[in-house]
Assembly symmetry: C2
Protein backbone atom coordinates (compact mmCIF):
# COMPACT_ATOMS: atom_id res chain seq x y z
CA UNK A 1 0.00 0.00 0.00
CA UNK A 2 1.44 3.36 -1.00
CA UNK A 3 2.17 5.86 1.75
CA UNK A 4 -0.40 8.57 2.16
CA UNK A 5 0.00 11.62 4.35
CA UNK A 6 -3.13 13.23 5.77
CA UNK A 7 -2.98 16.99 5.25
CA UNK A 8 -6.37 17.63 6.81
CA UNK A 9 -9.63 15.91 7.62
CA UNK A 10 -12.86 17.72 8.44
CA UNK A 11 -16.19 16.20 9.22
CA UNK A 12 -18.75 17.58 6.78
CA UNK A 13 -22.30 16.56 5.92
CA UNK A 14 -21.78 13.46 8.03
CA UNK A 15 -18.74 12.32 6.05
CA UNK A 16 -15.04 13.11 6.03
CA UNK A 17 -13.58 15.70 3.68
CA UNK A 18 -9.91 14.82 3.54
CA UNK A 19 -6.89 16.32 1.83
CA UNK A 20 -3.97 13.97 1.28
CA UNK A 21 -0.38 14.09 0.02
CA UNK A 22 1.74 11.36 -1.48
CA UNK A 23 4.85 10.95 -3.57
CA UNK A 24 3.75 10.25 -7.11
CA UNK A 25 5.88 7.82 -9.09
CA UNK A 26 4.12 8.92 -12.28
CA UNK A 27 4.98 12.61 -12.06
CA UNK A 28 8.01 12.37 -9.78
CA UNK A 29 6.84 14.94 -7.21
CA UNK A 30 4.63 15.07 -4.17
CA UNK A 31 0.99 15.47 -5.16
CA UNK A 32 -2.01 16.68 -3.15
CA UNK A 33 -5.60 15.60 -3.74
CA UNK A 34 -8.90 15.64 -1.88
CA UNK A 35 -11.37 12.86 -1.15
CA UNK A 36 -14.84 13.12 0.37
CA UNK A 37 -16.01 9.89 1.96
CA UNK A 38 -19.66 9.81 3.10
CA UNK A 39 -20.67 8.14 6.31
CA UNK A 40 -20.83 4.41 5.67
CA UNK A 41 -21.02 1.07 7.39
CA UNK A 42 -17.69 -0.54 8.28
CA UNK A 43 -16.48 -2.45 5.24
CA UNK A 44 -19.04 -0.96 2.87
CA UNK A 45 -17.65 0.19 -0.46
CA UNK A 46 -18.98 3.15 -2.40
CA UNK A 47 -18.75 4.24 -6.02
CA UNK A 48 -16.18 6.90 -6.91
CA UNK A 49 -16.84 10.12 -8.82
CA UNK A 50 -13.72 11.72 -10.24
CA UNK A 51 -13.66 15.48 -10.70
CA UNK A 52 -10.94 16.98 -12.89
CA UNK A 53 -10.34 20.70 -12.41
CA UNK A 54 -9.64 23.48 -14.86
CA UNK A 55 -6.74 25.83 -15.57
CA UNK A 56 -5.12 27.48 -12.53
CA UNK A 57 -6.98 25.22 -10.08
CA UNK A 58 -5.79 22.79 -7.46
CA UNK A 59 -7.91 20.24 -5.59
CA UNK A 60 -8.99 23.11 -3.35
CA UNK A 61 -11.29 25.02 -5.71
CA UNK A 62 -13.96 22.38 -6.10
CA UNK A 63 -13.39 21.11 -2.57
CA UNK A 64 -14.29 24.50 -1.15
CA UNK A 65 -16.75 25.82 -3.72
CA UNK A 66 -18.19 22.80 -5.51
CA UNK A 67 -21.21 22.20 -3.25
CA UNK A 68 -21.01 18.47 -3.86
CA UNK A 69 -20.90 17.11 -0.32
CA UNK A 70 -24.56 17.26 0.67
CA UNK A 71 -25.66 15.16 -2.27
CA UNK A 72 -22.63 12.84 -2.25
CA UNK A 73 -23.47 12.16 1.39
CA UNK A 74 -27.08 11.42 0.50
CA UNK A 75 -26.27 9.26 -2.53
CA UNK A 76 -23.26 7.51 -1.00
CA UNK A 77 -20.68 8.70 -3.52
CA UNK A 78 -16.96 9.14 -2.89
CA UNK A 79 -15.73 12.33 -4.60
CA UNK A 80 -12.07 12.65 -5.59
CA UNK A 81 -10.41 15.85 -6.81
CA UNK A 82 -6.81 15.65 -8.07
CA UNK A 83 -4.48 18.57 -8.74
CA UNK A 84 -4.05 19.91 -12.29
CA UNK A 85 -0.26 19.54 -12.68
CA UNK A 86 2.88 18.48 -10.90
CA UNK A 87 4.25 21.20 -8.63
CA UNK A 88 7.34 21.89 -6.57
CA UNK A 89 11.06 22.36 -6.96
CA UNK A 90 12.40 21.61 -10.40
CA UNK A 91 9.05 21.23 -12.17
CA UNK A 92 9.13 23.12 -15.48
CA UNK A 93 6.65 25.94 -16.06
CA UNK A 94 5.56 28.00 -19.01
CA UNK A 95 8.37 30.30 -20.17
CA UNK A 96 6.23 33.33 -19.37
CA UNK A 97 4.56 31.68 -16.37
CA UNK A 98 1.27 31.98 -18.27
CA UNK A 99 -1.81 30.52 -16.60
CA UNK A 100 -2.68 28.28 -19.53
CA UNK A 101 0.42 26.10 -19.78
CA UNK A 102 2.77 24.48 -17.27
CA UNK A 103 1.91 24.75 -13.59
CA UNK A 104 -1.82 24.37 -12.99
CA UNK A 105 -2.31 23.43 -16.64
CA UNK A 106 -1.22 19.84 -17.15
CA UNK A 107 -4.05 19.16 -19.63
CA UNK A 108 -4.27 15.51 -18.53
CA UNK A 109 -1.66 14.24 -20.99
CA UNK A 110 1.68 12.43 -20.62
CA UNK A 111 4.17 14.96 -21.97
CA UNK A 112 6.79 13.71 -24.41
CA UNK A 113 8.58 17.02 -24.97
CA UNK A 114 11.47 18.41 -22.91
CA UNK A 115 11.47 19.82 -20.32
CA UNK A 116 7.87 18.82 -19.54
CA UNK A 117 8.29 15.10 -20.15
CA UNK A 118 10.17 14.86 -16.85
CA UNK A 119 7.11 15.51 -14.67
CA UNK A 120 3.97 16.25 -16.70
CA UNK A 121 2.51 12.74 -16.72
CA UNK A 122 -0.97 13.75 -15.63
CA UNK A 123 -2.73 11.17 -17.83
CA UNK A 124 -0.96 8.30 -16.10
CA UNK A 125 -1.38 9.99 -12.75
CA UNK A 126 -5.11 10.58 -13.02
CA UNK A 127 -6.14 7.42 -14.85
CA UNK A 128 -3.74 4.93 -13.30
CA UNK A 129 -1.66 5.83 -10.27
CA UNK A 130 -4.23 7.81 -8.33
CA UNK A 131 -7.07 5.33 -8.91
CA UNK A 132 -4.77 2.58 -7.58
CA UNK A 133 -3.99 4.70 -4.54
CA UNK A 134 -7.65 5.54 -3.92
CA UNK A 135 -8.64 1.90 -4.28
CA UNK A 136 -6.05 0.90 -1.69
CA UNK A 137 -6.75 3.59 0.88
CA UNK A 138 -10.47 4.35 0.82
CA UNK A 139 -13.72 2.35 0.96
CA UNK A 140 -13.99 2.70 -2.81
CA UNK A 141 -15.59 0.25 -5.18
CA UNK A 142 -13.27 0.69 -8.14
CA UNK A 143 -15.64 -1.30 -10.33
CA UNK A 144 -18.00 1.65 -10.08
CA UNK A 145 -16.21 4.82 -11.15
CA UNK A 146 -17.42 7.82 -13.09
CA UNK A 147 -15.78 11.04 -14.19
CA UNK A 148 -16.63 14.71 -14.57
CA UNK A 149 -14.63 17.89 -14.93
CA UNK A 150 -14.61 21.59 -15.67
CA UNK A 151 -13.07 23.37 -18.64
CA UNK A 152 -9.58 21.81 -19.05
CA UNK A 153 -10.86 19.19 -16.61
CA UNK A 154 -13.95 18.72 -18.78
CA UNK A 155 -11.53 17.93 -21.58
CA UNK A 156 -9.81 15.46 -19.25
CA UNK A 157 -13.09 13.86 -18.23
CA UNK A 158 -14.29 13.47 -21.81
CA UNK A 159 -11.01 12.00 -23.06
CA UNK A 160 -10.67 9.65 -20.07
CA UNK A 161 -14.30 8.61 -20.41
CA UNK A 162 -13.96 7.97 -24.13
CA UNK A 163 -10.70 6.06 -23.65
CA UNK A 164 -11.99 3.83 -20.83
CA UNK A 165 -15.73 3.49 -21.47
CA UNK A 166 -15.94 0.30 -19.41
CA UNK A 167 -14.26 1.83 -16.40
CA UNK A 168 -16.19 5.10 -16.17
CA UNK A 169 -19.90 4.36 -15.93
CA UNK A 170 -20.80 8.02 -16.45
CA UNK A 171 -19.13 10.98 -18.12
CA UNK A 172 -20.11 14.61 -17.77
CA UNK A 173 -18.56 18.04 -18.00
CA UNK A 174 -19.04 21.67 -17.10
CA UNK A 175 -17.96 24.04 -19.90
CA UNK A 176 -15.42 21.58 -21.33
CA UNK A 177 -12.68 22.24 -23.88
CA UNK A 178 -14.13 19.72 -26.33
CA UNK A 179 -11.59 20.09 -29.13
CA UNK A 180 -8.16 21.16 -27.83
CA UNK A 181 -6.62 20.57 -31.27
CA UNK A 182 -8.82 23.32 -32.67
CA UNK A 183 -8.57 26.08 -30.03
CA UNK A 184 -5.73 28.29 -28.72
CA UNK A 185 -5.54 26.86 -25.16
CA UNK A 186 -5.33 23.32 -26.48
CA UNK A 187 -3.01 24.04 -29.39
CA UNK A 188 -0.52 25.73 -27.07
CA UNK A 189 -0.68 22.90 -24.53
CA UNK A 190 -0.63 19.97 -26.93
CA UNK A 191 2.26 21.47 -28.90
CA UNK A 192 4.21 22.10 -25.72
CA UNK A 193 3.55 18.73 -24.13
CA UNK A 194 3.25 16.44 -27.18
CA UNK A 195 5.10 18.26 -29.96
CA UNK A 196 4.17 19.27 -33.48
CA UNK A 197 2.92 15.93 -34.77
CA UNK A 198 -0.79 16.48 -34.52
CA UNK A 199 -1.49 12.79 -34.96
CA UNK A 200 -0.24 12.34 -31.38
CA UNK A 201 -2.86 14.84 -30.23
CA UNK A 202 -5.81 12.75 -31.32
CA UNK A 203 -5.84 10.59 -28.19
CA UNK A 204 -6.25 13.79 -26.18
CA UNK A 205 -9.02 15.47 -28.10
CA UNK A 206 -12.59 14.33 -27.47
CA UNK A 207 -13.71 15.16 -31.00
CA UNK A 208 -10.78 13.29 -32.57
CA UNK A 209 -11.36 10.31 -30.29
CA UNK A 210 -14.99 10.13 -31.39
CA UNK A 211 -13.98 10.51 -35.03
CA UNK A 212 -11.54 7.66 -34.52
CA UNK A 213 -14.25 5.39 -33.16
CA UNK A 214 -14.36 5.94 -29.38
CA UNK A 215 -17.86 5.61 -27.92
CA UNK A 216 -19.59 6.10 -24.56
CA UNK A 217 -23.18 5.35 -23.58
CA UNK A 218 -24.06 9.03 -23.17
CA UNK A 219 -22.65 12.40 -22.13
CA UNK A 220 -24.01 15.30 -20.08
CA UNK A 221 -22.58 18.79 -20.63
CA UNK A 222 -23.62 22.05 -19.00
CA UNK A 223 -22.35 25.24 -20.58
CA UNK A 224 -23.07 28.81 -19.56
CA UNK A 225 -24.00 31.04 -22.47
CA UNK A 226 -22.36 34.05 -20.76
CA UNK A 227 -19.05 32.19 -20.50
CA UNK A 228 -16.23 34.44 -21.76
CA UNK A 229 -14.42 31.43 -23.21
CA UNK A 230 -17.37 29.93 -25.05
CA UNK A 231 -16.72 31.07 -28.61
CA UNK A 232 -12.94 30.90 -28.76
CA UNK A 233 -11.91 28.03 -26.48
CA UNK A 234 -14.87 25.76 -25.72
CA UNK A 235 -16.93 25.39 -28.92
CA UNK A 236 -19.51 22.90 -27.66
CA UNK A 237 -21.12 22.80 -31.10
CA UNK A 238 -18.18 20.68 -32.26
CA UNK A 239 -19.17 18.08 -29.66
CA UNK A 240 -22.80 18.24 -30.74
CA UNK A 241 -21.79 17.51 -34.33
CA UNK A 242 -19.35 14.74 -33.45
CA UNK A 243 -21.87 13.03 -31.17
CA UNK A 244 -24.62 13.28 -33.79
CA UNK A 245 -22.34 11.79 -36.39
CA UNK A 246 -21.29 8.99 -34.04
CA UNK A 247 -24.72 8.32 -32.55
CA UNK A 248 -23.64 9.20 -29.01
CA UNK A 249 -26.58 10.60 -27.00
CA UNK A 250 -25.37 14.02 -25.82
CA UNK A 251 -27.35 16.15 -23.40
CA UNK A 252 -25.93 19.64 -23.89
CA UNK A 253 -27.62 22.28 -21.79
CA UNK A 254 -26.84 25.88 -22.66
CA UNK A 255 -27.53 27.68 -19.39
CA UNK A 256 -28.65 31.25 -20.00
CA UNK A 257 -26.68 33.91 -18.14
CA UNK A 258 -24.17 31.57 -16.52
CA UNK A 259 -20.42 32.17 -16.72
CA UNK A 260 -17.30 30.00 -16.33
CA UNK A 261 -17.03 30.21 -12.52
CA UNK A 262 -17.76 27.94 -9.60
CA UNK A 263 -20.96 29.92 -9.12
CA UNK A 264 -22.02 28.18 -12.33
CA UNK A 265 -20.55 24.78 -11.52
CA UNK A 266 -22.10 24.63 -8.06
CA UNK A 267 -25.51 25.51 -9.54
CA UNK A 268 -25.59 22.33 -11.60
CA UNK A 269 -23.37 20.04 -9.52
CA UNK A 270 -26.42 18.29 -8.06
CA UNK A 271 -27.77 17.50 -11.54
CA UNK A 272 -24.44 15.98 -12.51
CA UNK A 273 -24.18 13.90 -9.36
CA UNK A 274 -27.71 12.59 -9.93
CA UNK A 275 -26.78 11.71 -13.53
CA UNK A 276 -23.70 9.87 -12.28
CA UNK A 277 -25.57 8.11 -9.48
CA UNK A 278 -28.21 6.81 -11.88
CA UNK A 279 -25.52 5.31 -14.09
CA UNK A 280 -23.58 3.88 -11.16
CA UNK A 281 -26.80 2.65 -9.55
CA UNK A 282 -27.25 -0.59 -11.39
CA UNK A 283 -24.09 -1.80 -9.72
CA UNK A 284 -24.70 -0.32 -6.28
CA UNK A 285 -24.58 -3.23 -3.91
CA UNK B 1 -29.99 56.49 -2.49
CA UNK B 2 -26.42 55.78 -1.46
CA UNK B 3 -23.91 55.00 -4.20
CA UNK B 4 -23.10 51.35 -4.62
CA UNK B 5 -20.31 49.98 -6.81
CA UNK B 6 -20.71 46.50 -8.23
CA UNK B 7 -17.52 44.52 -7.68
CA UNK B 8 -18.86 41.34 -9.28
CA UNK B 9 -22.10 39.62 -10.15
CA UNK B 10 -22.38 35.94 -10.99
CA UNK B 11 -25.51 34.03 -11.83
CA UNK B 12 -25.82 31.13 -9.41
CA UNK B 13 -28.67 28.76 -8.59
CA UNK B 14 -30.91 30.93 -10.72
CA UNK B 15 -30.20 34.09 -8.71
CA UNK B 16 -27.46 36.70 -8.64
CA UNK B 17 -24.53 36.44 -6.26
CA UNK B 18 -23.20 39.98 -6.07
CA UNK B 19 -20.30 41.63 -4.31
CA UNK B 20 -20.62 45.38 -3.75
CA UNK B 21 -18.53 48.25 -2.44
CA UNK B 22 -19.64 51.54 -0.94
CA UNK B 23 -18.27 54.33 1.18
CA UNK B 24 -19.51 53.78 4.71
CA UNK B 25 -20.33 56.89 6.70
CA UNK B 26 -20.44 54.80 9.88
CA UNK B 27 -16.90 53.45 9.70
CA UNK B 28 -15.40 56.11 7.43
CA UNK B 29 -13.87 53.74 4.88
CA UNK B 30 -14.97 51.83 1.82
CA UNK B 31 -16.69 48.58 2.76
CA UNK B 32 -17.34 45.45 0.73
CA UNK B 33 -20.24 43.07 1.26
CA UNK B 34 -22.03 40.32 -0.64
CA UNK B 35 -25.72 39.84 -1.42
CA UNK B 36 -27.41 36.83 -2.97
CA UNK B 37 -30.73 37.67 -4.60
CA UNK B 38 -32.81 34.70 -5.78
CA UNK B 39 -34.74 34.82 -9.02
CA UNK B 40 -37.94 36.76 -8.42
CA UNK B 41 -40.76 38.49 -10.16
CA UNK B 42 -40.24 42.14 -11.03
CA UNK B 43 -41.18 44.20 -7.99
CA UNK B 44 -41.41 41.23 -5.62
CA UNK B 45 -39.72 41.71 -2.27
CA UNK B 46 -38.04 38.96 -0.33
CA UNK B 47 -37.04 38.51 3.31
CA UNK B 48 -33.41 39.15 4.23
CA UNK B 49 -31.14 36.80 6.16
CA UNK B 50 -28.07 38.47 7.64
CA UNK B 51 -24.94 36.41 8.11
CA UNK B 52 -22.20 37.81 10.35
CA UNK B 53 -18.78 36.24 9.90
CA UNK B 54 -16.11 35.23 12.38
CA UNK B 55 -12.55 36.32 13.14
CA UNK B 56 -10.23 36.76 10.13
CA UNK B 57 -13.11 36.49 7.66
CA UNK B 58 -14.43 38.86 5.03
CA UNK B 59 -17.71 38.55 3.13
CA UNK B 60 -15.91 36.05 0.89
CA UNK B 61 -15.64 33.07 3.22
CA UNK B 62 -19.32 32.34 3.56
CA UNK B 63 -20.02 33.54 0.04
CA UNK B 64 -17.69 30.90 -1.38
CA UNK B 65 -17.99 28.11 1.17
CA UNK B 66 -21.34 28.60 2.92
CA UNK B 67 -23.50 26.44 0.61
CA UNK B 68 -26.49 28.69 1.21
CA UNK B 69 -27.51 29.57 -2.34
CA UNK B 70 -29.41 26.45 -3.37
CA UNK B 71 -31.81 26.71 -0.47
CA UNK B 72 -32.03 30.51 -0.46
CA UNK B 73 -33.03 30.22 -4.12
CA UNK B 74 -35.68 27.63 -3.27
CA UNK B 75 -37.04 29.51 -0.26
CA UNK B 76 -36.79 32.98 -1.76
CA UNK B 77 -34.39 34.44 0.80
CA UNK B 78 -31.94 37.27 0.23
CA UNK B 79 -28.63 36.49 1.97
CA UNK B 80 -26.33 39.35 3.01
CA UNK B 81 -22.76 38.92 4.28
CA UNK B 82 -20.94 42.01 5.58
CA UNK B 83 -17.22 42.31 6.29
CA UNK B 84 -15.92 41.89 9.85
CA UNK B 85 -14.11 45.22 10.29
CA UNK B 86 -13.21 48.44 8.54
CA UNK B 87 -10.15 48.09 6.31
CA UNK B 88 -7.82 50.25 4.30
CA UNK B 89 -5.34 53.07 4.73
CA UNK B 90 -5.28 54.57 8.17
CA UNK B 91 -7.48 52.01 9.91
CA UNK B 92 -5.91 50.99 13.23
CA UNK B 93 -4.96 47.37 13.80
CA UNK B 94 -3.91 45.28 16.75
CA UNK B 95 -0.44 46.32 17.96
CA UNK B 96 0.88 42.86 17.14
CA UNK B 97 -1.39 42.42 14.12
CA UNK B 98 -3.00 39.50 15.97
CA UNK B 99 -5.92 37.77 14.26
CA UNK B 100 -8.30 38.29 17.16
CA UNK B 101 -8.37 42.08 17.44
CA UNK B 102 -8.37 44.94 14.96
CA UNK B 103 -8.58 44.10 11.26
CA UNK B 104 -10.98 41.23 10.62
CA UNK B 105 -12.07 41.32 14.25
CA UNK B 106 -14.44 44.24 14.77
CA UNK B 107 -16.62 42.26 17.18
CA UNK B 108 -19.76 44.12 16.06
CA UNK B 109 -19.39 46.98 18.53
CA UNK B 110 -19.01 50.76 18.20
CA UNK B 111 -15.55 51.41 19.61
CA UNK B 112 -15.15 54.27 22.06
CA UNK B 113 -11.40 53.90 22.66
CA UNK B 114 -8.60 55.53 20.65
CA UNK B 115 -7.41 54.74 18.07
CA UNK B 116 -10.24 52.33 17.26
CA UNK B 117 -13.09 54.75 17.83
CA UNK B 118 -12.20 56.48 14.56
CA UNK B 119 -13.35 53.58 12.35
CA UNK B 120 -14.52 50.56 14.34
CA UNK B 121 -18.24 51.30 14.32
CA UNK B 122 -19.34 47.87 13.19
CA UNK B 123 -22.48 47.84 15.35
CA UNK B 124 -23.86 50.92 13.62
CA UNK B 125 -22.64 49.65 10.29
CA UNK B 126 -24.25 46.23 10.51
CA UNK B 127 -27.47 47.13 12.30
CA UNK B 128 -28.16 50.53 10.77
CA UNK B 129 -26.20 51.76 7.77
CA UNK B 130 -25.98 48.53 5.81
CA UNK B 131 -29.65 47.58 6.34
CA UNK B 132 -30.61 51.01 5.02
CA UNK B 133 -28.39 50.49 2.00
CA UNK B 134 -29.74 46.99 1.34
CA UNK B 135 -33.30 48.20 1.66
CA UNK B 136 -32.66 50.93 -0.89
CA UNK B 137 -30.78 48.87 -3.45
CA UNK B 138 -32.23 45.36 -3.44
CA UNK B 139 -35.71 43.79 -3.63
CA UNK B 140 -35.60 43.35 0.13
CA UNK B 141 -38.58 43.35 2.47
CA UNK B 142 -36.94 45.03 5.45
CA UNK B 143 -39.96 44.16 7.60
CA UNK B 144 -38.82 40.55 7.35
CA UNK B 145 -35.20 40.26 8.48
CA UNK B 146 -33.42 37.56 10.40
CA UNK B 147 -29.85 37.12 11.54
CA UNK B 148 -27.28 34.36 11.94
CA UNK B 149 -23.54 34.23 12.35
CA UNK B 150 -20.47 32.17 13.11
CA UNK B 151 -18.15 32.43 16.12
CA UNK B 152 -17.52 36.20 16.56
CA UNK B 153 -20.38 36.60 14.09
CA UNK B 154 -22.51 34.30 16.22
CA UNK B 155 -21.86 36.74 19.04
CA UNK B 156 -22.91 39.56 16.72
CA UNK B 157 -26.06 37.73 15.64
CA UNK B 158 -27.09 36.95 19.22
CA UNK B 159 -26.50 40.48 20.47
CA UNK B 160 -28.22 42.09 17.49
CA UNK B 161 -31.11 39.66 17.75
CA UNK B 162 -31.50 40.29 21.48
CA UNK B 163 -31.25 44.05 21.03
CA UNK B 164 -33.77 44.24 18.18
CA UNK B 165 -36.17 41.34 18.78
CA UNK B 166 -38.90 42.96 16.70
CA UNK B 167 -36.65 43.51 13.72
CA UNK B 168 -35.03 40.09 13.49
CA UNK B 169 -37.71 37.43 13.18
CA UNK B 170 -35.19 34.63 13.72
CA UNK B 171 -31.82 34.35 15.43
CA UNK B 172 -29.35 31.51 15.08
CA UNK B 173 -25.65 30.88 15.35
CA UNK B 174 -22.89 28.45 14.49
CA UNK B 175 -20.36 28.00 17.33
CA UNK B 176 -20.99 31.48 18.75
CA UNK B 177 -18.96 33.35 21.34
CA UNK B 178 -21.89 33.55 23.76
CA UNK B 179 -20.18 35.42 26.59
CA UNK B 180 -17.37 37.68 25.35
CA UNK B 181 -17.04 39.26 28.81
CA UNK B 182 -15.99 35.89 30.20
CA UNK B 183 -13.54 34.58 27.58
CA UNK B 184 -10.10 35.69 26.30
CA UNK B 185 -11.15 36.67 22.77
CA UNK B 186 -13.97 38.81 24.06
CA UNK B 187 -12.13 40.33 26.99
CA UNK B 188 -9.30 41.47 24.70
CA UNK B 189 -11.70 42.92 22.15
CA UNK B 190 -14.13 44.59 24.53
CA UNK B 191 -11.30 46.13 26.54
CA UNK B 192 -9.64 47.41 23.39
CA UNK B 193 -12.78 48.78 21.78
CA UNK B 194 -14.89 49.80 24.80
CA UNK B 195 -12.39 50.29 27.61
CA UNK B 196 -12.13 48.91 31.13
CA UNK B 197 -15.60 49.74 32.38
CA UNK B 198 -17.21 46.36 32.09
CA UNK B 199 -20.67 47.84 32.50
CA UNK B 200 -20.29 49.17 28.94
CA UNK B 201 -19.67 45.61 27.77
CA UNK B 202 -23.06 44.32 28.81
CA UNK B 203 -24.84 45.52 25.67
CA UNK B 204 -22.41 43.41 23.68
CA UNK B 205 -22.57 40.16 25.57
CA UNK B 206 -25.51 37.83 24.90
CA UNK B 207 -25.49 36.42 28.41
CA UNK B 208 -25.44 39.87 30.01
CA UNK B 209 -28.18 41.09 27.68
CA UNK B 210 -30.38 38.18 28.74
CA UNK B 211 -29.55 38.77 32.39
CA UNK B 212 -30.53 42.40 31.88
CA UNK B 213 -33.91 41.43 30.47
CA UNK B 214 -33.48 41.04 26.72
CA UNK B 215 -35.69 38.35 25.21
CA UNK B 216 -36.21 36.65 21.85
CA UNK B 217 -38.83 34.10 20.81
CA UNK B 218 -36.27 31.32 20.42
CA UNK B 219 -32.67 30.61 19.41
CA UNK B 220 -31.00 27.87 17.37
CA UNK B 221 -27.31 27.11 17.95
CA UNK B 222 -25.18 24.42 16.33
CA UNK B 223 -21.84 23.68 17.95
CA UNK B 224 -19.26 21.08 16.94
CA UNK B 225 -17.98 19.06 19.86
CA UNK B 226 -14.54 18.75 18.21
CA UNK B 227 -14.25 22.53 17.96
CA UNK B 228 -10.82 23.61 19.27
CA UNK B 229 -12.30 26.78 20.72
CA UNK B 230 -15.21 25.16 22.51
CA UNK B 231 -13.95 25.03 26.09
CA UNK B 232 -11.98 28.27 26.28
CA UNK B 233 -13.76 30.74 24.00
CA UNK B 234 -17.27 29.55 23.19
CA UNK B 235 -18.77 28.04 26.35
CA UNK B 236 -22.29 27.30 25.05
CA UNK B 237 -23.30 26.00 28.48
CA UNK B 238 -23.44 29.61 29.64
CA UNK B 239 -26.11 30.27 27.02
CA UNK B 240 -28.02 27.17 28.05
CA UNK B 241 -28.10 28.38 31.65
CA UNK B 242 -29.03 31.96 30.79
CA UNK B 243 -31.82 30.85 28.45
CA UNK B 244 -33.19 28.41 31.03
CA UNK B 245 -33.18 31.13 33.66
CA UNK B 246 -34.88 33.57 31.30
CA UNK B 247 -37.33 31.11 29.77
CA UNK B 248 -35.97 31.54 26.24
CA UNK B 249 -36.42 28.33 24.22
CA UNK B 250 -32.90 27.42 23.07
CA UNK B 251 -32.22 24.61 20.64
CA UNK B 252 -28.54 23.83 21.18
CA UNK B 253 -27.26 20.97 19.07
CA UNK B 254 -23.84 19.60 19.97
CA UNK B 255 -22.70 18.04 16.72
CA UNK B 256 -20.38 15.10 17.33
CA UNK B 257 -17.04 15.25 15.53
CA UNK B 258 -17.55 18.65 13.91
CA UNK B 259 -14.96 21.42 14.16
CA UNK B 260 -15.01 25.22 13.80
CA UNK B 261 -14.63 25.36 10.00
CA UNK B 262 -16.89 26.04 7.05
CA UNK B 263 -17.04 22.28 6.55
CA UNK B 264 -19.11 22.36 9.73
CA UNK B 265 -21.10 25.49 8.92
CA UNK B 266 -22.04 24.30 5.44
CA UNK B 267 -23.23 20.98 6.87
CA UNK B 268 -25.94 22.68 8.91
CA UNK B 269 -26.59 25.81 6.85
CA UNK B 270 -29.72 24.28 5.34
CA UNK B 271 -31.18 23.58 8.78
CA UNK B 272 -30.58 27.19 9.79
CA UNK B 273 -32.12 28.58 6.63
CA UNK B 274 -35.19 26.39 7.15
CA UNK B 275 -35.43 27.64 10.75
CA UNK B 276 -35.23 31.22 9.53
CA UNK B 277 -37.69 30.67 6.68
CA UNK B 278 -40.29 29.20 9.04
CA UNK B 279 -40.04 32.26 11.28
CA UNK B 280 -40.10 34.69 8.36
CA UNK B 281 -42.89 32.74 6.69
CA UNK B 282 -45.89 34.16 8.46
CA UNK B 283 -45.12 37.45 6.80
CA UNK B 284 -44.17 36.12 3.37
CA UNK B 285 -46.52 37.88 1.00
Amino acid sequence: MQALETVSQNLSHGGVQGVYKHHSAAVGTDMVFSVFVPAHAQGAKMPVVWYLSGLTCTHANVTEKGEFRALCAELGLIFVAPDTSPRGGGVADDADAAYDFGLGAGFYVDATQAPFAANYKMWSYVTQELPDLVGQNFPADMDRQSIMGHSMGGHGALTAGLTFPDRYKAVSAFSPIVAPSQVPWGQKALTGYLGDDILTWRKHDAIALIEDGARVADILVDQGDADNFLAEQLKPQLLVEACEEAGIPLTLRLQPGYDHSYYFISSFMADHLQWHAERLQHRIK
